[in-house]
């Protein structure tokens, strides 16, 4: 079977901004693995291909071995086409009758399985043509298949997903090095320290309420406390961190301070003290010392998040922290409000007060307002430097993708910049 993962424009992918501005939705992390890894593990395909928004195709090709946006992949004998938003645990292929395709209520294909005979009667010239011809010729089922709809759902589900992923991983015990004196609580069966991982003396690993998975090459410095369920990614370093339950830290991160029920995608730094809770932090982010986010309102009401700077969305949860896009940097002492949306490639200077709940991508937030700052070229130079420090290349494809993201996010930024000018003018009057 050939699995085709879909993350197409004009779907709900914008509901995962700012994280999906620069990656397909299935690359998002929940638990130990990404959504895509879970779909692959669930369906066990012989081959995987994918379709992503055209502007990120070239950059994504640099990160994956899968064919990207290749119509030739639509000519296999047995295709399973699945939206990257479908929850793998709930993907029930057996419930799918021959000739059926499952769509959601907005008309987005969630999954279908096509035989070679099915494909003979469908237009496979492009993925758009194929989807159109499926709608015309197949039995359309509208079904409430469980899907991921917003980034904060991943955060809120992270603790339980960590437990399920730990069971699925079937890894237990100490294969790396744990230096004495150590303090391991809970069942050893619920702790896994991978080969090459190093746990320094005076580290507490508390698996009493959930498993702790420390991946290859990770290094845990003294006075760190890790509460399960928790995942520490490959080659990440914890520096005296209070790493509380429900936290996933991707590869090559540096994390200190307090972190609770949050997901750090990878290659990001939160080196110093400061609280991060119920947050999703993208790649190549640097959070300055004492950067903190609120994840609970003082009146304990549901947290709202605005994905466009205008319309607040009720998350249905009393706890949601910040959503922070790739390459964003914060100064020391930055304070993010509850349910803050912080775009990608933003530069944030603290004001001493909680910042606005919506900061657009490529914003230079200075003196309490959104400005154009020094422009995107300066941001690209910084990105190049930051990636180079971790042996990664800022490629032409990356820059082309970010140029398009700059355009995609221009309207919200322009509005915020104008508002900022008016504020500055009144301050200077």
């Amino acid at each position: 079977m050939h699995l085709i993962l879909l993350d197409l424009p004009h779907t709900k992918r914008h509901q995962f901004y700012p994280l999906t501005l620069s990656r397909p939705v299935w690359e998002l992390r929940c638990g130990i693995t990404s959504l895509g890894e879970k779909l692959v593990a669930k369906t066990r395909p012989q081959q995987v291909s994918c379709f992503v928004p055209p502007y990120m195709a070239e950059a994504y090709r640099e990160q994956t071995d899968w064919p990207v946006n290749d119509p030739a992949s639509l000519s296999a004998d047995d295709l399973l086409i699945v939206s990257g938003r479908v929850k793998a645990d709930h993907l029930d292929l057996k419930s799918l009758q021959a000739g059926e395709a499952v769509f959601d209520r907005t008309g987005e294909l969630l999954f279908t399985r096509l035989s070679g005979r099915d494909l003979d009667s469908l237009n496979t010239t492009s993925i758009d043509d194929l989807l159109s011809s499926i709608k015309e010729s197949k039995s359309i089922i509208e079904r409430d298949v469980p899907t991921w709809n917003y980034t904060w759902e991943l955060v809120l589900a992270n603790a339980e997903q960590l437990k399920r992923d730990f069971v699925a991983a079937q890894r237990h015990g100490i294969e790396g090095k744990v230096e004495e004196p150590s303090a391991l609580r809970g069942a050893r069966f619920d702790i896994y320290v991978a080969p090459g991982a190093l746990v320094h003396p005076m580290v507490v690993i508390d698996a009493e309420h959930g498993p702790v998975y420390i991946d290859e090459g990770a290094e845990i410095h003294p006075f760190t406390r890790i509460e399960g369920p928790c995942y520490i990614g490959k080659n990440s370093i914890l520096l005296g961190a209070k790493c509380r339950e429900g936290t996933s830290i991707g590869p090559v991160c540096r994390v200190g301070g307090e972190i609770e029920e949050a997901i750090v995608h990878g290659h990001s730094n939160k080196y110093h003290d400061g609280f991060l809770g119920h947050a999703y932090v993208g790649e190549w982010v640097n959070l300055g010392a004492m950067t903190s986010n609120s994840d609970l309102k003082n009146d304990y009401s549901n947290v709202t998040v605005s994905l466009d700077g205008r319309n607040p969305i009720d998350t249905g949860s009393k706890k949601v922290g910040a959503l922070i896009g790739d390459h964003t940097k914060t100064s020391i002492g930055t304070l993010f409000n509850t349910g803050a949306y912080v775009g990608a490639m933003a530069v944030i200077a603290a004001t001493g007060k909680p910042l606005p709940k919506y900061i657009p991508s490529f914003a230079w937030f200075l003196e309490g307002v959104v400005t154009k700052g020094f422009g995107k070229r300066k941001l690209y130079e910084t990105a190049q430097t930051v990636m180079g420090r971790r042996g990664r290349e800022w490629s032409a494809a990356q820059q082309s993708m970010w140029d398009e993201i700059f355009n995609i996010t221009a309207p919200e930024r322009a509005e915020a910049v104008k508002k900022g000018r008016r504020t500055l003018r009144s301050q200077n009057a």
């Binding site: 230079w364 200075l366 307002v369 154009k372 020094f374 900022g420 000018r421 500055l424 200077n428």
Partner: protein
């Protein structure tokens, strides 16, 4: 209505908190008027607000003197139909 030059001087004085009488066309924003990097960004924003224009930030930030700013802004205003 004040000239572009007068308005540039007024904005500069307001943002950098200097006496407009002491702002000369040949003054360098950084060396003579003490603009720090954040204030340079603020100046660009305030010029855009004052003249209702959009300036390309790198080009705008490369302008070094008050007189050069007047020339640059005059050109942008003409291009964007604001004069």
């Amino acid at each position: 209505m004040s000239s572009v030059s007068d308005r540039v001087v007024a904005v500069t004085a307001r943002v950098l908190k200097v006496d407009p009488e002491n702002v000369k066309p040949e003054d360098n924003f950084t060396a003579d008027l003490g603009a720090e990097s954040v204030q340079s960004i603020e100046l660009v924003a305030m010029f855009e607000e004052e003249f209702d224009i959009e300036m390309e930030e790198e080009a705008a930030l490369s302008v070094e003197t008050v007189g050069a700013a007047t020339e640059f802004i005059t050109k942008v205003c003409q291009e964007q139909g604001k004069l």
